[in-house]
Amino acid sequence: MNPLSIDAVVKRFGDLTAVAGVSLEVRERSCLGLLGPNGAGKSTLIRSIAGRVLPDSGSIRVFGEAAGSAAARAELGWVPQELALYPLLTCRENLEAFGRYQGLRGKGLHEGIAWCLEWAALADRAGDMVKTLSGGMRRRLNMAAGLVHRPRMVLLDEPTVGVDPQSRNRIFEMVEALRGQGTTVIYTTHYMEEAERLCDTIAIIDHGQVIAEGAQEALVARAFGSRSDVLMRFAAVVENAAAWAAARGGTMENGVAHFAVDKPTDIGPLLDAAVRDGLEVIDVVLRRPNLESVFLQLTGRELRQ
């Protein structure tokens, strides 16, 4: 039985359709990355899985149980995007509170708190009030508070929002440790590099729909085959550059011309054409397409627009 089965889920808020018929299956011990720009519907989908949003139609099952049911909640840990903590309580007291809300008592609660403090590298700050912690520490505690009952599946809703690079790396290590212990992870982000590093399956969401799903390499191969990206920048803003790029199968995005080439030697003819047509090229990059490229190709927009 898969940890998560989502079937044709629709959720509307008034005239806005936040989730428009999403279907997904998540395998045990895998990490699914929900990748999409802000407002794509990722958080609504995550909140639906957590039982906090009631879909208008469709069904969500967590380990075979209906989302929001007591059995589903017991198997699920949800880390919301907000710092949902009590600032005047200590780290240990916060974990204790959320552990008790999950029904933990006695030894189970004690062990859950100890594991969380260790996992979040906060054991030495256990007695400190949350308001005295750094932003990165609060983020880690926020994650730990959702896992104190040691769930089999974890929903991480943009856990790195607003943290510095060092803290972000620490959070990546925490997620990797979690995966190492066999926990199934659903990870939402609009940072392509996070999804690439942490997730073995990616679902790209836009306007409430899953527009592509699969392993990262498969998504890239499906979108680009063996082709690579060529990015070309010109010395000055050239009015007819967009038309020039389009004539050669490329696009202009933010002053940069994008082309897809089958092999690296295909750059030569492009450079020759630019010189011939009076365009002064100052920078050329050849790169293997990534998830960002896939999103761009599928939507015509950049991931962080």
Binding site: G51, R52, Q81, L83, A84, Y101, G103, A145, G146
Partner: protein, 420 residues
Amino acid sequence: MIAAIVLNGFRVLRRDRGALVLSFILPVAFFSIFAMIFGGMGDNGTPRVSVLVVDEDGSTASERLVQALLQEPSLNASTHPKEKKGAPADYTAASAEAAVKRGDAPAALVIPKGFGAHPIAMGPGGDRTPIRLLHDSSDPVAAQMVAGILQKVVMTSMSGAMAKMGMQYFEKASGGLTAQQRESIEAAMARPNAGRQSAPASGDGFIALDVRDVVGEKNKHSMIAFYAAGIGVMFLLFTASAAGGALLEEAESGALDRILSARVSMTTLLAGKMAYSALLASAQLTLMFVWGAAVFHLDLWHHVPGFLVMTAATSFAVAAFGMVLASVSHTRAQQGAISTLIILTMSAIGGSMFPRYFMPAAMQKVGLLTLNAWAIDGYTKVFWRDEPILHLAPQVGVLMGAGITLFLIARRFARRWEYS
């Protein structure tokens, strides 16, 4: 530049409903409440004082005095209870005293046997029979007003007896009247309205008064209980409002979502929050009364059972009130403004700021719509009237009923937090 700052201030104010309420609605509401209380709700003059009248004498003089008291516009005098069926029996001295002790009226006048023989006297002493004024000193104003009005009523209703007594004094002091003087005075006394002149309405007035506090005579410090309850309940409401506001903070921080995604239902969460708020309120009230006992000699230790019952009922009701305030508000700022408006209004008309017996009768009835009034009435029964716990049933019943109703209302409004 200054104009830009002013303009910005008004723009922000326009969109801050809480600040708007505090700036404009609260002052007008308070002005209206005070104007109604001290302005007599539009009818000029002092509120009428309720007084029970017992005529043990049955003489012509006493009957005339009773009739005059019943017709006196400043008094709400009655000789018998207001029964719904049949003709109720007149008050006796004992039943009137019991009624005052129950709080049915703040004072009772008992005209004793023998009053008619010597109804009035000029100056202190003499052989006049004193009228007994039984009063409840939890209303310190009523007894003084009744005493003063009684002297006025005597002057206007028993002018003949007064003049006769005055002539006797004059004869005694002057060594006797001539036949012509006596004839002239008697002719004047025969004219209607004779003797209606101003006279002192003090303890040395024409009527001898035996004033007795029948409720608070053993409880010299029990007014402290009134203030402890009055002020205590007002602050309890603020505390309950703040405790309920924690729910809004949790909603705003996302903690509420996280709690509800765990194994906690909305009903359980509200019940837990309310239990915390009620315990906090109980601790506050206990502190108030223990402080009153330690510093102001409040007799708490002989009223512990009644205190515990009233504290439990009051804390339950105010905690539920705090839950409602939180559940109907959308932001903490909005809740703060609504709370301040409602709590200060309730406290003003419910007797937390000044006793309800100062207020006009209609206002006193409106006060019964507040938790403050029922709580203060209950504590007064315990500490002032020494009534048994069973007599707290109306107050406890109303407070518990209000608590349950308010909790259900809060639960209904809290549905918006359950799911998106």
